[in-house]
Each structure stands twice: as structure tokens, then as C-alpha cells.
Symmetry: C2
Subunit: 122 residues, 2 copies
């Protein structure tokens, strides 16, 4: 109905359009794609990107919350880069897509601790 996803400039991007953006490791291997962004309601700051990979038609897909602070946007790669390889990703916090996920503060803290980023949850 609308063409909102076409609204972008060099520095701004529509939230719709972030979804689907590739995430690479430092060597350029693709780890997955951004599926959603978790935003702090009050400040409007993106706190986590939720990356998905694997599975087929949503079945068996893994969802990895990545602290936004751990991601760097790479204009050349047209995607985000994170300092983590596939091996490390296997041990990273993740949840299944099929079930309603209860995003507790403890869960958030465990994500922030894994990526050694400043914790949103204090």
C-alpha cells in the first residue's frame, strides 16, 4: 500500500528495511540476517538486533539477540559486522522462534554479558 521501505538516505534507514540486512563475521562470512530490532520505547534507541539463521520456512530457525553496540554497519558489505565467528555463535544466547518468548531482564543481562557490551539492564 505504501512505499515506506524505499525511504532511505545515506545515513537513515526505515526500520522495515533493516529487517533482512545481512550480518557478517570479521572474515566476511555471513552469519545470518536481521529479523527484528528491539527498541527502548522511551529513548528510541535500538538495543538489540535479533538475527535469525538456519531452519526452513521458519521451522527450526534460531533467533540470536545481538546487542546493537556489538554491531558495526559496513557500507561496502551493505550489512552489519560483528566480532564473532560461526563457532562462537553456536554457544551464543538464542531462542526458538516457534514459541512465545519471555524476554526477562536476566535474559537480557546474559546476552549483554556474552558479548561483553555495556548492559542495558544495569
Amino acid at each position: 500500500m505504501t512505499e515506506m521501505t524505499s525511504i532511505t538516505t545515506g545515513s537513515l534507514i526505515a526500520a522495515d528495511k533493516v529487517n533482512g540486512t545481512a550480518v557478517f563475521d570479521l572474515t566476511g562470512d555471513k552469519l545470518g540476517s536481521v529479523e527484528n530490532i528491539m527498541i527502548d520505547k522511551a529513548s528510541g534507541r535500538a538495543i538489540y538486533a535479533v538475527m535469525s539463521f538456519g531452519g526452513f520456512l521458519g521451522v527450526g530457525e534460531k533467533h540470536h539477540p545481538l546487542p546493537w553496540a556489538a554491531l558495526k554497519y559496513d557500507e561496502g558489505k551493505v550489512g552489519y559486522v560483528i566480532n564473532m565467528d560461526k563457532k562462537q555463535l553456536e554457544g551464543a544466547p538464542n531462542f526458538d522462534g516457534g514459541s512465545e518468548f519471555n524476554w526477562t531482564q536476566d535474559y537480557g543481562r546474559s546476552v549483554d554479558a556474552f558479548y561483553k557490551t555495556h548492559s542495558y539492564w544495569m
Copy 2:
């Protein structure tokens, strides 16, 4: 396929879920609904919410970019509040939904000036 929009806590909200959130004036009248968020790629900060209202099935719909800094989230109203009434909204920067919209720096500046918010574009 996924249930990402159900992932929310008191303070975090999935970007998917922000879309459709109501925007009210100070008296509690509904001005429209958030249709998209414009995010700064590098910092992950939401810079504008794009509010839509009017029209039918996307035809004749008006799109108003609102600086995020001009919005306050109201837990009670379950929506955003902005210090602007319907009369003022008529004169506010907007664009048609049907055409590809060219989001220039000048346009961004005119939006920031209208709402008297600190300009993202400098």
C-alpha cells in the same frame, strides 16, 4: 512464521510492534498512527517516526515525519503524545504515500525546524 512482535517487555518493544501505535495530541485526541521508524544506521537511534492518517486502503493517506524527540511515550494511553493539535498538523511537513519519496537533508531540516527540535542534519 515467527512471533517476533510478541517479544516485548516494559521498556523494550520490537520495531514491528511500534508500527500501528497511536499518536495523540495533549488533549488525548488521536492524530494518527506510527507507520514506520527512520533509524540512524550507525548509532541505531530512532530519528523520526512516520505517522500516517486519513485515506482509505493507502489511497490519499498523508505521511507526517515526526522527530522522535518531539514524541513522549504514555504508558497509560499506550501511545505517543506530541505537543501539536489537529489544526497545526494541517500545516506540518508531509508527503504523499503513493510516490517514491526523496528524503533530502533539506527536507529533514524543515521537519526539525517545524517541530523546533534539535536537528539531526546539523
